[in-house]
Amino acid sequence: MKRLTICLAIGLALALVISFSAIAQEEEVKKEEILFWTWAGGREITMLESKITRFEFIYPDIKVKMQPLPFVEYQTKLLSGHASGTAPDVAYYSQVMHKMFYDRGLLEDLWPYVKDDKVWLADYRPFLLDVHTFDSHYVGTGLGGWGTAMIFYNVDMFEENGIEGPPKTWEEYLDIAKRLTKDTNGDGKTNIFGCQNDGSFETYLVLLESFGGGVFNEDRSETIIDSPESIEAMQFWGELINEEKVHTPWVGTPGGVGFTYNNVAMGVYGIWSNGFWTTIIGDKFKFDIAPNPVKVAKSAPLSSSAYGVAIGSKHKDAAVKLAKYMASAAGQIENAFMGFAASSNPSLDFMYANSPVWAGKDYQALAETADYGKLMPLDVPRWEEVLRVLTKQRDLVLIGQETAEKAMEDAAKTIRDIMAGKEVY
């Protein structure tokens, strides 16, 4: 009996092995094709599949083998792909990754393929060309994934409390937040908060830049994180949380207090949240977006991800075709429906504005940020280390453990060391 079980188990294992090696053999007989990696999560995979089908219809001699990969650890995966010579022909890179891989000479310059294509260029937001150009090498065709941070506000809560509209200045922001911060369940603790800004770097820049400060100056040669304006911005934010107490406590992972729970009235959030929130809020309350409050400047930090073509790709022409397609209106139709970000193709603005995710909201305000927005400084050397310092010092201010002045000065000191090429301890 025992022998029988063992024999069966071994037999089963052998059967599995044989059938799998057979299947594996089968895979070898394939057409020539290009390899396309993309991070995709949530609904994006279905979107991608229909895009690829269309692409293969337009270009019948190209077959695309798409590998959707988890967003988690995507960079590590790309790294190991490039390191081992199995890099994909076309892949989706975040802005930071683009710079990193470009620095190591791993991405093709796409400018020669794009500069004469007037049709393609005409329907493409110009700033996106700048975002992915390093030393006049244009290495990524930006897609409708450009984003920024803006004000999200709870329209119903505003109306119920007789508030006219979203704040246009930071003074108004504070004022409205005070009026909307309440204790509605009588336990002596605030449970509705006037505002909550998220932890994204975009939001961080909104605060800094709208006060006239920032992380780097125009040509990225100097850090201005310790300028009086930057310090004032951080001080303001810190006070919202710790003194005025109209902003939710600053936590790593948001818990039960947040915009989507209908207990925060407004805040500066990345606009990519719109798609997700529309689904999880549903009909519970109405919300909208608005341009960021101003202190001395209008601010909208612009960022984007893009498709890049790997150097050494054996199917360069096909790969470039795919990269350009994905960034053109033809390849962005599904994005117009999902509305996670803003359109890279002005011709699609109309579709975006009427998509389920943007309908009834001020999509126009978002589209306009492309005109006055500033590119995010993600292409400085050793960006990851800079970000780490900035995050740490911001956290110290917002949890009330450090004054804005000291924190930003410490940040500036470290950033100067990084810029000077020193090791950072």
Partner: protein
């Protein structure tokens, strides 16, 4: 006399019977050793070599000698991570072991439905980390979270758990202990079941109460298990990463950055594989030291038959 013969064979290892045995030993070990060498030992040796290099994964490695090591302990990020990791280990191990022993005793009782409880207590070990982090983020929410809600009943004003440099690590510790209890509980449960009932009966006849029984029978009899659990837990908790990364991303303000988090960031975000390897080797020596210390110390309290 029998024992002396064995001892001699062990020391020499080359007596006639010994050499036949030796051959068999190698044969049995062969598959295991090939795997060990190829997939464990050689990569480990390579990582030691890499720790003496600058290596960004995408371009060939460049030998730099002990440069990475000289940086190691001057790097305040590392020192901070070391402090946090030690804090974590000291928080997780005693409470984890004591509570899981207690749970094992609980589920060792004779109740019909006890098997159900054994399965329920094991659930946290296999529940998806996403679910665990969402629920615990709710529990820890400073405004609406259940933990602070309960603390309010006792008149305590709960802290901003995941947003406080003082309380973020304790928050992670509590969650980790909770998640790991089932695992050690099962190991202890088996050990408990191996204790002969006669010992307890004899003690009862002699008039020993339950505390005396616990102290003089249960504890010594499970001490070998405690030793095993202790060693494996130390090796594991020094390498903590997932919880800190998922729940707090090492924050706020680096309060929950651990050694492996440092390794990860340096390797896969800064592209400094050489330096990351050096950090890993530092961690190795610390764990090795802690383990050797425990092994030496075990003679005092571990009771073998």
């Amino acid at each position: 006399m029998h024992d002396n013969k064995r001892k001699r064979r062990k020391i020499r290892g080359f007596s006639k019977v010994g050499s036949i045995e030796a051959r068999w030993g190698y044969f049995f070990l062969l598959p295991n050793i090939i795997g060990f060498l190829t997939f464990t030992l050689i990569p480990v040796a390579v990582s030691l070599f890499l720790s003496l290099c600058r290596y960004d994964i995408l371009t060939p490695a460049r030998f730099v000698g002990l440069l990475n090591y000289s940086r190691l302990l001057r790097d305040s990020y590392n020192l901070n991570a070391l402090k946090n990791t030690l804090y974590y280990t000291l928080g997780v191990i005693p409470s984890g072991i004591i509570i899981s022993l207690f749970l094992a005793i609980l589920v060792n009782q004779k109740l019909k439905e006890i098997v159900l409880y054994r399965a329920l207590f094991f659930l946290p070990v296999i529940t998806s980390m996403v679910a665990v982090s969402v629920v615990w983020a709710w529990l820890y929410d400073p405004v609406n979270g259940y933990i602070n809600y309960i603390l309010r009943w006792f008149g305590i004003d709960g802290p901003n758990w995941l947003g406080s440099t003082t309380w973020a690590m304790p928050a992670i510790i509590i969650m980790s202990v909770w998640k790991g209890l089932g695992f050690n509980m099962v190991i202890y449960l088996a050990a408990l079941q191996g204790i002969p009932e006669q010992l307890y009966e004899a003690a009862r006849i002699d008039g020993a109460g339950w505390w005396a029984q616990f102290r003089h029978i249960t504890l010594p009899m499970v001490s070998p298990t405690t030793f095993f659990v202790l060693i494996m837990s130390v090796i594991g908790s020094f390498q903590v990463f997932d919880q800190a990364y998922i729940m707090t991303r090492g924050g706020p303000a680096e309060a929950t950055t651990t050694m492996v988090y440092q390794i990860y960031v340096n390797a896969f975000q800064y592209f400094r594989m050489g330096y990351a390897s050096a950090i890993a080797w530092l961690l190795f020596f610390i764990i090795l030291g802690a383990s050797l210390f425990q092994i030496k110390f075990q003679k005092r309290w571990v009771f073998y038959e």
